[in-house]
Amino acid sequence: MIVCLAVVGHQNNPLYIQSFTEADDALKLHHMVHCSLDVIDERVDNPKKSGPTINETFLGLLCPTENYKVYGYLTNTKVKFILVTTDLDVRDADMRTFFRRFHAAYVDAVSNPFHVPGKKITSKTFAERVATIVKSFGLTTTG
C-alpha cells in the first residue's frame, strides 16, 4: 500500500506531503522523501549515468529499503512527485499509470487561479482526488 506521497518544488521546497498510514512513522517517511530528492538531483544532473531515461517524467525506483520502495516522477516544470509504498512487488506500468493520474490532479490544482506557484497546495479537491487515486491503486495491486 502507498504510505506516503509528496510533491516537491524545483528548489526542493515541499508543496504537498501526505501520509496514508495509521502508524506514527511520519517522521521516518518524510526523511525517506527527503533522501530521495538527492537521488533525483543526482540522476538528472548526470544524464550519462542514468542513460536513456533522462527525458522521461517517470524516474522509476529511486531507493529500495528493507520495508519500503520509493518511486519518483519529474515534471517539465521540475516539480518532483515522490511515492513511498510498502508493496515490494509493483509493476512499473501500474506505477506509471498512478503517476499519470496523480499528475492530472496536480495540473488541475495548480491551474486554479488562486494557487500561487511555488506555494503549498492547499486545495481540498486535490486532497480528495489524491485520496481516491491512492485508494484505487491499492485495489488494483492487491486484488
Binding site: 488541475d108 490544482a109 491551474s111 486554479n112 487561479p113 488562486f114 492547499t122 486545495s123 481540498k124 479537491t125
Partner: protein
C-alpha cells in the same frame, strides 16, 4: 414583421470564430488575481468585475443583435429566453435555462450548470465572499440596459460555494420606453 427570435444559439456559435476556452478561462483567472492583489477587499473586486462586465455588455449587444437576427424582443420574458438560449451560447458556448418566474413576470432566474469561467477554480477560505463570476452579471445588466431594460442582477447560487448550479436572478426594475440608447452619428 420581424423574424422570430431563434430558439437556440447552436448554429450561431458554430459559425462564429472561436478560441480555446482554456485561454479564456486562464485569462479571466489572471484578471481576478490581479484585482485581488490591487484592490485587496473582496467587495471591491466584486464591484470591479461587475463594472467590467457592464462595459462588455454595453458593447456586446450590437454584435449579439446583428448575429442573432433578433430585432426587438416583445417583452422581458422573451428577452430572458433569448439571453439564456442564444446569448450565452453564442459567446460562451454554453446554454442557460430560465426558471423561477414571479407572478408579475419581472423576476426570473438564469440557471447554468456549465460555466467556462470556473474551470480549475477553487475558492480559498479567504475569498468566500467573492462572486467569482460577477463579470457575467455585469454583462447581463449592461446588455439589457442597452435594450432599455434597467435590471438588478444577483447571484443566488454558486457552484464554487458548493451549490449544484449557478443561479443568476434578473429583476426588471424599469423599462425605458423607446429611447434609443445612443446617438447614431454615423
Amino acid at each position: 414583421m420581424a423574424p422570430a427570435a431563434p430558439k437556440s444559439g447552436d448554429a450561431i456559435f458554430a459559425s462564429v470564430d472561436r478560441v480555446n476556452a482554456e485561454l479564456f478561462t486562464l485569462t479571466y483567472g489572471a484578471i481576478v488575481r490581479q484585482l485581488l492583489t490591487d484592490l485587496e477587499e473582496v467587495d471591491e473586486v466584486n464591484k470591479q468585475l461587475d463594472q467590467m462586465g457592464y462595459n462588455i455588455g454595453v458593447r456586446l449587444v450590437d454584435e449579439f443583435l446583428a448575429k442573432s437576427n433578433v430585432s426587438r424582443c416583445v417583452d422581458f420574458r422573451e428577452t430572458a429566453e433569448v439571453i439564456a438560449k442564444v446569448g450565452f451560447k453564442m459567446f460562451l458556448g454554453v446554454t442557460a435555462s430560465v426558471t423561477n418566474w414571479d407572478t408579475e413576470g419581472t423576476t426570473c432566474s438564469l440557471i447554468m450548470e456549465d460555466n467556462p469561467l470556473v474551470d480549475f477554480v477553487e475558492l480559498p477560505d479567504t475569498c468566500q465572499g467573492l462572486h467569482y463570476c460577477n463579470i457575467l452579471s455585469g454583462v447581463v445588466r449592461g446588455a439589457l440596459e442597452m435594450v432599455s431594460m434597467k435590471t438588478e442582477v444577483t447571484w443566488l447560487r454558486d457552484m464554487l460555494k458548493g451549490d449544484d448550479v449557478f443561479e443568476l436572478q434578473v429583476k426588471l426594475l424599469k423599462q425605458i420606453p423607446e429611447e434609443y440608447p445612443y446617438k447614431d452619428d454615423e
